[in-house]
């Protein structure tokens, strides 16, 4: 019998991507608070190199990278695998993490007394834990291994929310923890069911089983809502706005840009890789309905927020919705290969440009709050005059969220809209358009304040160094620069798809 997985050259890079942040966290504990920042920055730099090398290796070999731990084949052992989409996620995470690291270094550096204090030290360690969990989600092939990754992610993300220790953020963090645990429980139940029915937790082995019984249906019906709870898709978003709005700016950036993308990624794998075609089509319909509701409902909520960070948090729930309407647009479950469609590419681009733009926006909001001392939108009149670079950052990131050219968000929405028009999904097309209008509304509200000339000019509580303002600006410019990608399905996303042994075995 040929083994299910054959290790490929460069497979070790996947292990490195997961272990590097974990090792960094351990080194931090050993070396103590004084050196955490340095260790983190070195790890972030190395992580960027690993992501780059992974990408190069993938493009060179044109097949998925695979690593089989200890050479034990599943179902006994665990396999790591990265196809085009996973590598894209690894790369986006590395970029956003690196930017967040630099931003956090400058932000904590504003106040020398706390630069190496408890808050900063915890932040760096948690950031590394978060990153390790994220990378594991993107490369793991084993459902229990994925569960561990999700838990690591949750347990690193929750303390990040309440890093400042205020009662309000503690409550938000507990809310997050409780709901995420509910989600984990459902996921674990489903994984257990699958193990009972198939005797393995390996995604590829489960998918290749000749017959799927009701166990599969029930397991998926437990796991998908569990993951939705962690992804905070409407109407399961109860924990997200207070958590993301209450966290320190650097933490909000990674939470909103990356952490909630991990469960979304897993849902994608469950629906596209494991679910039998009939179930995948049903799941696609249900998820699209929730996604569309999320776009409309939470965009209106964002429009009505008084506080800048809450507005951005609601915008995150709305923007996540676009990722779920991809399912019917890409024809998931109708027997064709979804990853070759423009909708799939549109979804991947939406994910990437939202990660960059949202991180930039949260950082910009953090700078405003740091400089002005509050984030009440109404009282921010004229902040564009005192913080021109930050206002520009907000505007550029806003362009991407609104889907205005030239920006990654525009290309993403254009591709999704084209898929909706061609496929006859009129209601999804209208949702995309109305979502864009509402996003225009909430971005405009802030930009209107930025450009205003109030009677009493806004006073800065403390000076903001240029280096701090540049970092989010670079992210926002990257989000806009994605707009120069061609309007067609990407080859990268098709590498390593479909995930079957046939594609790899000689």
């Amino acid at each position: 019998m040929t083994p299910a997985y054959a290790a490929t050259p460069g497979g070790l890079l996947l292990v490195l991507a997961v272990m590097l942040p974990a090792a960094a966290a351990l080194v931090m504990l050993v070396l103590g608070p004084r050196h955490t920042r340095l260790v983190a920055l070195i790890a972030l730099a190395l992580g960027l190199v690993v992501a780059l090398a992974t990408g190069l290796q993938l493009v060179r070999s044109q097949t998925a990278l695979i690593y089989v731990l200890g050479n034990w084949q599943p179902p006994l052992g665990i396999a790591l695998r990265a196809d085009g989409l996973s590598v894209m996620m690894l790369a986006v995470s590395a970029v956003v993490m690196a930017a967040t690291g630099l931003f956090a270094r400058e932000l904590f550096g504003l106040d020398l007394a706390t630069a190496d204090g408890r808050l900063a030290t915890s932040f760096w360690i948690l950031l590394m834990g978060l990153w390790s969990g994220l990378n594991l989600v993107f490369v793991s092939q084993d459902l229990f291994n994925l569960y561990v990754a999700l838990e690591l992610l949750t347990f690193a993300a929750v303390p990040l929310v309440c890093l400042d220790g205020r009662g309000e953020t503690m409550a938000a963090a507990l809310r997050y923890l409780m709901f995420a645990l509910l989600g984990s429980m459902l996921y674990l139940l489903g994984a257990g069911l699958l193990y009972g029915a198939y005797g393995t937790l390996d995604i590829r082995l489960i998918a290749s089983a000749s017959h799927h019984g009701p166990a599969m249906a029930i397991a998926l019906a437990l796991m998908i809502p569990g993951l939705l709870a962690k992804a905070a898709l409407f109407p399961l978003h109860l924990w997200l706005p207070p958590a993301h709005a209450g966290a320190p700016a650097a933490a909000s950036a990674v939470l909103s840009a990356l952490v909630i993308k991990a469960p979304v990624f897993l849902i994608l794998r469950l629906v596209a890789d494991i679910a039998p075609p009939g179930s995948a089509a049903v799941a696609g319909q249900v998820l699209a309905v929730l996604g569309a509701a999320s776009i409309l409902f939470c965009s209106v909520m964002a429009l009505r927020q008084e506080r800048l960070k809450l507005m951005i948090a609601y915008s995150t729930v709305a923007q996540i919705g676009y990722l779920f309407i991809v399912f019917p647009l890409a024809g998931v479950g109708d027997g064709t290969a979804p990853w070759g469609t423009i909708a799939w590419t549109g979804g991947a681009l939406q994910l990437t440009s939202h990660a960059l733009a949202k991180a930039a926006m949260f950082m910009a909001a953090g700078i405003v709050a740091e400089a002005v001392g509050h984030d009440r939108i109404r009282d921010l009149g004229g902040f564009g005059r005192v913080l021109p670079l930050t206002a520009t950052t907000f505007g550029l990131a806003g362009l991407s969220l609104m889907g205005i050219p030239p920006s990654g968000g525009f290309i993403a929405k254009c591709l999704l809209l084209t898929a909706a028009a061609v496929g006859g999904h009129l209601w999804l097309a209208l949702t995309i358009l109305v979502g864009g209008l509402l996003a225009g509304g909430y971005v405009f509200r802030v930009m209107d304040r930025a450009l205003a000339t109030p009677v009493e000019p806004l006073l800065l509580r403390k000076p903001i160094p240029l280096r701090l303002e540049i970092i989010p600006l670079v992210l926002a410019v990257l989000a806009v620069a994605l707009g120069f990608l061609p309007l067609e399905p990407f080859g990268l996303l098709q590498i390593g798809r479909p995930d079957s042994a046939l594609a790899v075995s000689p």
């Binding site: 039998p276 209106v300 028009a421 209107d448």
Partner: protein, 547 residues
Amino acid sequence: MSFATSAAGLLLVAALLAPLALATACLSRAVRARVPGLLWLAPLPALLAAGLLPTGTAIAFPVPFRMALALDQPGAILLGGAALLWSAAGAYAASYLRGKPGLTGFCVWWLLTLAGSLGVLIVADIAGFYLLFTLASLSAYGLVAHEQTAAARRAGLVYMVLALLGEAFLLFAFVMLAAGQPDPNPLIRDAVAALPGSPMRDGIIALLMLGFALKMGLIPLHVWLPLAHPAAPMPASAVLSGVLVKAGVIGLIRFLPFEAPLPAWGAVLAIAGILTAYGGAALGVAQRRPKTILAYSTVSQMGLVAAILGAGLAVGDASAPGLAAYYGLHHTLVKGGLFLAVGVAFASGGSRRWPLLLLAALLALSLAGLPLTSGALAKLAVKPMLGYGLLSIAVSLAAAGSTMLMLHFIAVMVSETADNPPSSAPPGETLPWLATAAASLLIPWWLYPALSGGALASAWSLPSLWKLVWPMMLGVVVFIAAKRFAGLAGRVPEGDILVLAERQAPRLARLPAAIERLDGQLRLWPAAGIVLLALVIWLGGGFLMAA
């Protein structure tokens, strides 16, 4: 048309990039201080391109910039007029806004709007068109809301909401238009050539017309225009009313298939245009402020352009775009000149204002088709295409409406400037205005033979003069009979039906409020738990049924 690189093509690129480069240069402190004095230079490459380049000049940007530029006859006509007005208004702005706060920001928005509004006239691919159209639309917000008064903020808000709505219409139309093409970003002419056979034809045309009608201010989508144009500083009003509405005109010209007759859609556009022409004049005579009267006049005039295009579309007349562009050129220069005239006249007083008012009156009546002016030429040029039926009479009657509106404008200007202290406007404002006025009187003569197909002499033959004069006489008679509309002054609020809509605003606000309440309930633990369970059951049931 070839898209190979050539010196002529590079001039087209310069027309687009010069204002963008100047806007970028504002990052430097040294440039920032000088930029107001440089505004008049930014549109000069475009002016040169319009004047010197042969039609058919084209160039494509290298990958990854997906944009192709091409110059055709309607584009060149509109580009020339627009560049001229931008240049004159730029010179005017440097003097008008000297020493006022927020000048740098104004200049940056000015240059971005300038780049977008000139760019849409020469861009040849769909994505590029959408990009530049959006650039012009969104940047113009900075001009509308510049003065930061309550009125300007309200105007800016209304403008932005409707501009974004128009963008959404157009995006959907463009996506459907490009969907059937092999190239994901096709040239506009290729996509439009396939439009009559597209299964989504009617949807696409309806959305295109809605999106561009919003930009042109066709009734009832005109509500933003009488608010936004007067709210901006004087030179910005001139370009908003003179040039920016032409983005809608060029959109209709580029995206409607004039090669193939579409009688029903042509009729829709023509009727909407005629109704707008009448409505704009009727609402305008009830206004008190000169700038608002001019804005309503723009609504009315754009209605006429829409009627011309509609008539062309109905019968598949390929000459309609050129004629509409010619009418647009006349309107660009005259309306720009009139807005600048208001600024100059307001700064002048005593006996010195009379020559100014006289010239302003000449420009104003040009809109009504006063013989020997550009308005007369434009109206005579389009006459043959409109035929001699109902539509032709309807358009003539619109000239009567324009006459009334412009007489009302002149009367208001005379009374508004009556109490000015004796002084005269600085030459930095007078000269650009005079240049615009002179251009409006001369340039259309030069283009007339090429467009109308008739000789210049035909423009002053007796039958032609009669065609122009009777509607004007009718307008004068009504103006006198209605006692100069004294009873109407101020009876219609600026933005007319918008005020009715705003009255409904509290009712509309109930939905978001209800959504907020629902959000509060959904975010309670019991509700979230029930939702989670419901999802499990919904998905499980669905999966079991599908299996």
